[in-house]
Symmetry: C2
Subunit: 376 residues, 2 copies
């Protein structure tokens, strides 16, 4: 299959860019002497994850138990479920562990820790539990200096649970855009997570795993003393948000949406394309960044960006392609009906999720279809 | 199955609200003496569409050829594909027509009209073609007074095509929020679409179908003289955007996301829930409206809204639930770990699309799982 055979809109992976991104991240983490556990929520795809493992990744991170089930069925044993577990999902986690999955679950509260140990004790299993640490005031997690850290640890001393370690995600790194701020955030993420591990050990608890990461901090870290593993997800494809953060160039973005021109509004300078928000997603992550790309950057079908042309509006199955500057020419001459284009997305995790499959394009122009997981 | 058995997040349909919405729209359109053709892009679900047909709908509208294929396989013959067709999709449309589907396709340009007639003539079929009319300067379509209207019609006089009529969608009705403005927009949509039909007929072309609609204009129209059918989609579920437009009350919103509390950030007044943007979608349609609901309005598990509580932030699998006003109580006391809630969405079309299935809840508390179509 070639590009022209594909029904648009389609989620296109440029395989040489993806492999470049995999190699770049793996060698960065190797050089820091820790192991790398990719977050597969970005791709939810067995073939993509296989390429990460082949390059040296050790285990995976998932955002749902469905991902854990699907990747375990595909042969991956070592899995961290990096979202705080709710009591009603313990049964589903138990089923996976019973089948041989080395699943680590996450908590950041006494209430959920208590539910975990109660379930484990009642059902004769010992959950491996990571304690979530808040290192950047961003979302979930326990402050490393808090009493709650020790209270949660105390709950986990039980036949039903074992403290596997600590985990943090400095998601606020997405709000930065200078190398110095990113290096500082990577060090903050590292030092506060290591501090939490130290407090646990000083209080007599085991803390084998010290897990940190986000794509921006993983690529910016210069020292990971005390850390055992790094997690990152979106680096596999990168996107316009990451480009604005400053951790990738436009030509490292490996995911795009293949689209076709439907029509025009000549006086407005609009071309209408068949990639609306159902294809691009409603993610407007670049809206508050240094460069707003609307719903995406327009590229020729070969992947070359067309400077100044973005998807400026989107309905469900209609995208509006326009120029940031006044046009000296006719939009329908530049983008005739039936023309194929590629659109670089704001956020690869959100855009990929709109598609049942990826179309994986190799350097010879051959395209293969790869399935993607979906739902919970 | 009951609510407590459902793995969260889940897309919940309140069936009595849905039936109320179906009956409300059908009787409005019946009272105006035209036929009703629901847009099934909102639900993409056979059971939901069956309820619309049972109430009197005649045919359906789709936004993708995949929807056309799936609903045709489920027994629906009369289908309008309401997105301008690109030449590469004519083969797929042809295949459907060959199987007996009464598919109408759409164009708004000489270029695509020419491609349609060329394909039809070369392949021995006569496509039924609707000409898209722009009645509100919103997106696609041809101005009713333009020369292009007649140029496109002239292209469609061919063995390969037949002018089935005209179609318009006043999508800018979503930007309004007063009954008088909505009534005026409904009249503008009607009169300009009828004007296009009149011009075609005066020039000697057939124009059987005059199709108008959007949920706000369909519910606001007081006169549909000259119109043959109305289309509307989101009314089936309604959502917070439609509530802000003023065409539904909160307790008419039939789609919600069932979610569970994961944890808290007590000092910030945050409860963390397992409905992030992957469940709610990234749609922030209420952001520029009279009331901004963040990523959704929080309700008790029985569907009662909890005033002032919204999903104020969202990551992929984490939602942040908080109060618009200062809280006089502990957030974890109000929303303990493990508590189930329902979240009303900004945009039902976008939120539904994040889920492989709906959980359809009847008035006895019984839940049935309904499949949803996905992709292109």
């Amino acid at each position: 299959m070639n590009l022209t055979d594909i029904v648009t809109p389609a989620a296109l992976i440029d395989l040489s860019r993806m492999q470049h991104n995999i190699d770049r991240m793996q060698s960065q983490i190797n050089s820091l002497g820790v192991s790398f556990r990719p977050h597969v929520k970005t791709s939810k795809c067995v073939e993509v994850t296989a390429a990460q493992i082949a390059a040296g990744a050790q285990g995976i991170t998932v955002s749902t138990l469905k991902e854990a089930e699907q990747f375990f069925a595909a042969g991956i044993i070592d899995i961290v479920y990096a979202v705080g577990i709710v009591p009603t999902k313990l049964k589903q986690a138990h089923a996976l562990i019973s089948l041989g999955c080395d699943l680590k679950i996450l908590t950041d509260s006494v209430a959920s820790a208590r539910a975990i140990t109660a379930y484990g004790a009642a059902n004769g299993l010992t959950f491996k539990v990571l304690i979530e640490i808040d290192t950047d005031d961003h979302r979930s997690g326990i402050k490393p200096e808090s009493q709650t850290l020790l209270d949660v640890a105390a709950e986990l001393v039980s036949p039903g649970a074992h403290i596997a370690g600590v985990l943090t995600h400095a998601g606020s790194s997405y709000d930065l855009n200078s190398p110095s701020a990113l290096i500082a955030m990577a060090e903050q993420e590292r030092s506060l997570c290591v501090r939490a591990a130290t407090r646990l050990r000083e209080a007599g608890y085991a803390c084998e795993i010290v897990s940190v990461g986000s794509t921006p901090t993983a690529l910016s870290a210069v020292n990971l003393d005390g850390v055992t593993e790094v997690r990152a997800g979106v680096y596999i494809f990168f996107d316009l948000v990451m480009h604005n953060v400053g951790v990738c160039s436009l030509d490292e973005i490996a995911l795009s949406v293949l689209t076709t021109v439907i029509g025009h509004q000549e006086e407005k300078g609009w071309a209408i394309i068949d990639a609306g928000w159902m294809a691009m997603s409603r993610d407007r992550g670049t809206q508050k960044q240094i460069a707003d790309y609307g719903y995406g950057q327009v590229c020729r079908v070969d992947g070359t960006p067309i400077p100044g042309f973005i998807v400026s509006g989107a309905n469900q199955e209609h995208g509006i392609l326009s120029s940031r500057e006044a046009l000296g020419t006719s939009i329908s001459d530049m983008f005739p009906v039936g023309m194929q284009l590629r659109i670089l997305p704001n956020h690869a995790c959100a855009t990929g999720a709109q598609f049942p499959q990826y179309q994986a394009l190799d350097s010879t122009g051959h395209v293969e279809t790869w399935e993607r997981f979906y739902g919970w």
